[in-house]
Amino acid sequence: MTTISVTVNGKQYTRDVEPRMLLVHFLREQLNLTGTHIGCDTSQCGACVVHLNGVSVKSCTTLAVQADGATVTTIEGLANGATLHPLQEGFWEKHGLQCGYCTPGMIMAAADLLKHNPNPSDAEIRHGLEGNLCRCTGYENIVKAVRYAADKMSVTTAD
């Protein structure tokens, strides 16, 4: 066992973990943060995407011990109190989900995309979300949801 200390959604947790424990299992099973999903478990679907030190990563392909001393943000940490993050609002408004399984990963990946490209074209949104699979929507409304968030965030920034 290795003792790790990780700040998740602003709260610090210290836990003993086996080195082979994946970050996604640490979040879901040790911290009960089940908003982060396990989809393919083979590093391809993006359902498990979280931010590690502000950068989007697949938490099924990261060891919990690698997050020692780091800051993690999961879907549970994205909203500001009762106010949804613009991406959460966009997925709500534009019906960017059907079953919702891929949604947390989609939103966390889209947040990273918008950080580097605040005003992406539809093609750039699709390219930026290449690591996230959705088997329901056909992606159309996901692209609209990200577009909605980008527009809203640029207005907020302009203010």
């Binding site: 082979r20 424990m21 994946l22 478990d41 697949k58 392909t61 990261t62 060891l63 930026g128 690591g131």
Partner: protein
């Protein structure tokens, strides 16, 4: 899926990592970005009993551009993709790495890790071959430098010794009259290269005075295309010269077929993508 158990070490210096490699030898694996190794460990295709996580070794990160370009082994694809300095002096690097996997893979994956792993469909392997890069390694006996052309020995195999670590990749800045390009046919799901072609050319007095072409994805090992290179040398680099030079591309190299693309199809695509990479490289060399 959960990897089999291992002992975990996170050294903070190259010397410490080398001494761990010496101590544990073949039982140990180096963890860099982990996007090849961790999936393989989850599938139990790899089951090292010791994992040496080098991601805390700060000296292995970053790009330094002076007389040449020095890229630390732990530099991520993301850093290379968005590096302002690299675009002007070796634009083929950001061009190629921007086509790797997806954002999350590029956030974690590293240049040194990809070269050490030597996946037959990796993109960077062909690029370092075309750039004639030098791969700097560190082992118990100190440093050595391996030419990219001597580095890839077989499928998933390199000239790296089990107790050695890649520390940096060094390549030349591209100047006036030089151009390089990477053209890739990606697998539509995985984004690995079904065929990837990296080309470098130099024009002197209107003639091709240097030319290197390397193919990834098609065969077990990233491979230079000697016939194509020879055929283009001393030509004027016109579209006709490129078409003629690529007639024989891929005919002598080992090519593999699978359910995604047959051997014949891959050979045909080697020609197509070699032609595209060379045409773009030549256009860039002309400025």
């Amino acid at each position: 899926m959960i990897p089999s158990a291992f002992a975990y070490f996170a050294p903070t210096s190259v010397a410490e990592a080398i001494s761990l490699l010496e101590q544990y030898g073949d039982e140990a694996k180096i963890l860099a970005g982990g996007h090849s190794l961790i999936p393989a460990m989850k599938l139990r295709l790899a089951a090292p009993s010791v994992l040496i996580d080098i991601t805390k070794i700060a000296e292995l990160r970053g790009v330094v551009i002076n007389g040449s370009i020095n890229i630390g082994a732990l530099t991520t694809w993301h850093t290379i993709e968005y590096h302002d300095g690299l675009k002007g002096v070796c634009g083929v690097l950001p061009e190629a790495v921007a086509q790797i996997g997806d954002i999350q893979v590029r956030n974690r994956g590293t240049l040194g890790g990809a070269l050490a792993h030597a996946d037959p469909s990796a993109d960077a392997t062909a690029v370092v071959l075309a750039l004639d890069a030098q791969i700097r390694t560190h082992g118990p006996g100190g440093e050595r430098t391996i030419a990219a052309s001597d580095f890839f020995t077989d499928m998933l195999s390199t000239a790296l010794e089990p107790n050695e670590l890649i520390t940096a990749v060094i390549c030349n800045k591209l100047g006036a009259g030089e151009g390089a390009a990477y053209a890739k046919f990606p697998h539509p799901a995985s984004r690995y290269a079904i065929v990837g072609a990296a080309a470098y050319v130099k024009l002197s007095g209107g003639k091709v005075s240097a030319c290197r072409v390397a193919i990834t994805g098609a065969g077990p090992v990233p491979t230079r295309q000697a016939e194509t290179e020879q055929a283009l040398l001393n030509s004027d680099g016109s579209d006709e010269a490129v078409a003629k030079a690529t007639e024989e591309s891929g005919t002598t190299m080992d090519v593999l077929g699978d359910i995604h693309a047959s051997e014949d199809y891959r050979r045909a695509m080697v020609k197509v993508y070699t032609k595209r990479a060379l045409t773009t490289a030549l256009a860039r060399a002309r400025g």
